[in-house]
């Protein structure tokens, strides 16, 4: 155990797990609750990262988080607008916005594909000044990101129990019923996607400050990674059950995913291979229940075939 896990690896897995948990929660809202495959995620994450980096570089690390949240929500709004008002298929709407965001992100970063934040104040450097000398010590980053995730998880749990939150859940659960309950699905889808992407944007800005850099390609594959986290959580906790359980499961999934990655890196799997690994996790996790059913059916078919053959033999 000790050889695989050092304290610092444990810490950074926790930190990254909590930060990326926001993207997993975003997918929980769009994919699980609204039943929409929202492919804005990749570009939106980079957008949050870029916006966050620029504001941080300008000396406003807190405003950076707020702006990332707001611009993320805007990206979600665009995707929602395309699918609800202009009849674009939801997956396509996400792809279109995602593609457009690449250029926007470059523009935000001043047409440079990398922005460095070395020497800039970040929420983490501020946190270190504040918490570094207390009993929390070296765990200040863990404490900060955990606090952020817990606050957001609580707020999300509260929100999903409000009338508006319930309307959003019903939209994904039974769209027809929603219309006949006088809820406007255009409105609920828009609010849901704005909310989801604001979390993705916030996560991007936190990563920018955490890594002290923003990279134009940082969001690539983010949707798959978040989906992998979501599915790991669902496999452990189940995707039924109360909202609080499911939200907790999503966060747990994200943290576990980071532990898996940390172990993989430790066992010298090259970092470039990680996206392949997460793709495989998602594919296997989604395919497993289906394949299991198929295999069970084939088994019964085969047993039936054997029985019939034996009967034919007996009769002969």
């Amino acid at each position: 155990m000790d050889s695989i896990f050092t304290v610092s690896i444990f810490q950074s897995a926790l930190e990254l797990g909590c930060i990326y948990a926001l993207v997993a929660l975003a997918l929980f809202i769009s994919f699980t609750i609204l039943n929409i495959a929202d492919l804005t995620t990749d570009g939106c994450f980079t957008l949050g990262c870029a916006v966050g980096a620029m504001f941080t570089a300008a000396g406003h690390p807190l405003l950076a988080l707020v702006m990332a949240l707001v611009t993320g929500a805007l990206a979600g709004f665009l995707t929602a607008l395309l699918q609800t008002k202009f009849g674009v298929e939801s997956i396509l709407a996400g792809i279109i916005v995602n593609t457009g965001l690449y250029t926007i992100n470059l523009m935000v970063m001043g047409f440079s594909s990398l922005v460095n934040l070395f020497g800039c104040d970040t929420v983490f450097s501020l946190g270190k000044d504040l918490l570094g000398d207390t009993f929390i010590g070296g765990w200040y980053k863990v404490a900060m990101v955990a606090a952020i995730v817990i606050i957001i998880a609580l707020a999300l749990w509260w929100f999903l129990g409000t009338t508006l939150g319930m309307s959003i859940r019903a939209t994904g659960d039974n769209a027809e019923m929603v219309k006949s309950s006088s809820i406007n699905p255009t409105f609920t889808i828009t609010v849901g996607l704005c909310l989801a992407n604001s979390l993705t944007g916030l996560s991007g800005a936190l990563i920018a400050q955490y890594q002290k850099s923003a990279d134009i390609n940082i969001g690539t594959g983010m949707v798959t990674i978040a989906l992998a986290s979501l599915i790991i959580g669902q496999t452990l906790i189940g995707n039924k059950g109360s909202m609080s359980r499911r939200i907790f499961g999503t966060i747990l999934g994200s943290v576990l995913y980071r532990f898996i990655v940390a172990i993989a890196l430790r066992m010298s799997v090259p970092a470039e291979a990680l996206k392949l690994v997460s793709a495989i996790i998602v594919a296997v996790a989604i395919a497993t229940p289906y394949v299991r059913k198929k295999v069970a059916l084939k088994k019964r078919q085969y047993a039936n075939y054997q029985r019939n053959r034996q009967e034919v033999k007996k009769n002969a």
Partner: protein
């Protein structure tokens, strides 16, 4: 109350699958009318309901509710005052949400204030839901925290009926809403329907394939064929009508394309 003025709807116009489902249909309902509707499969009964509920906008004609022209109103707007139940009990409720959450959504129709957007289900709401559920006599009041997906079809349909009438609608559309239930449950849901409609004086349209029901329930019977209303009876004329008479009209109207499987005599 409700007035359909020469409404038409053609599906897939200009293709080989073109189908004129409603052809210049007109109908007027008075306040408190409870009309049953019969008609062969494909006569356009569900299509008429969908036109009224706003699932699609009619190609031609106008729809008025309480003298307000609602022809171009969206479905979710119309649903504030129109309740719509389907044959399929799965359609009216959100399966992964609990009974009380489903009821809270239905209750939304009462409160349009946007201040309600961020309120959660209160203890008072729960009391109100429990009282309503007790009326069903199905023990659902003790299962309010369970997802609706766990209920049987009959229980779900009864719940849907409750939800549709929770906030009294101006108009209630019942599209064979007991057809998928076993006879005993169907009877129970129908009794419930009759008592709720009578108690609150809700104007109501009910599609049925049961000729006996068509004459017994409500105060008016309509027959549809080929996208229009071909027979409309109420009062004394209706009281004298027998199931046999109605069947004959049905045969004449449907031009022998009567589908015996779905016409129940009793």
């Amino acid at each position: 109350m409700l007035r359909l003025d020469n409404i038409s709807k053609t599906f897939n116009p200009g293709t080989v699958n073109e189908k004129a489902a409603l052809t210049k249909l007109s109908l007027e309902l008075k306040d408190g009318d409870f009309a049953t509707i019969v008609g062969s499969n494909g006569a356009g009964k569900s299509t008429m309901f969908n036109a009224i509920a706003g699932t699609f906008i009619v190609d031609e004609g106008n729809i008025y509710l309480d003298d307000e022209d609602i022809t171009f109103k969206k479905e979710h707007v119309r649903s504030r005052y129109i309740g719509h139940l389907f044959q399929d009990p799965l359609k009216g409720t959100a399966p992964n949400m609990t009974i009380e959450e489903n009821m809270a959504l239905a209750y939304l129709r009462a409160s349009r204030a946007s201040s309600k957007l961020f309120s959660r289900i209160s203890a008072k709401d729960k009391d109100r839901f429990r009282q309503q559920l007790q009326l069903l006599g199905m023990g659902l009041e003790d299962r309010m925290k369970q997802p609706v997906g766990l209920l049987s079809g009959g229980q779900r349909q009864a719940l849907t009926l409750l939800m549709a009438t929770f906030v009294t609608p101006k108009l209630l559309l019942l599209d064979e809403h007991t057809a998928a239930l076993d006879p005993a449950t169907a009877e129970k849901v129908l009794e419930l329907t009759k008592s709720i409609v009578a108690e609150r004086g809700i104007t109501c349209l009910m599609v049925t394939h049961n000729m006996h029901q068509a004459l017994e329930v409500g105060n008016r019977t309509l027959m549809m064929n080929a996208g229009r209303i071909v027979f409309d009876t109420q009062g004394e004329e209706r009281a004298k009508l027998t199931v046999q008479d109605l069947l004959e009209k049905f045969r004449a109207g449907a031009g022998e394309e009567l589908d015996n499987d779905r016409v129940l005599l009793s």
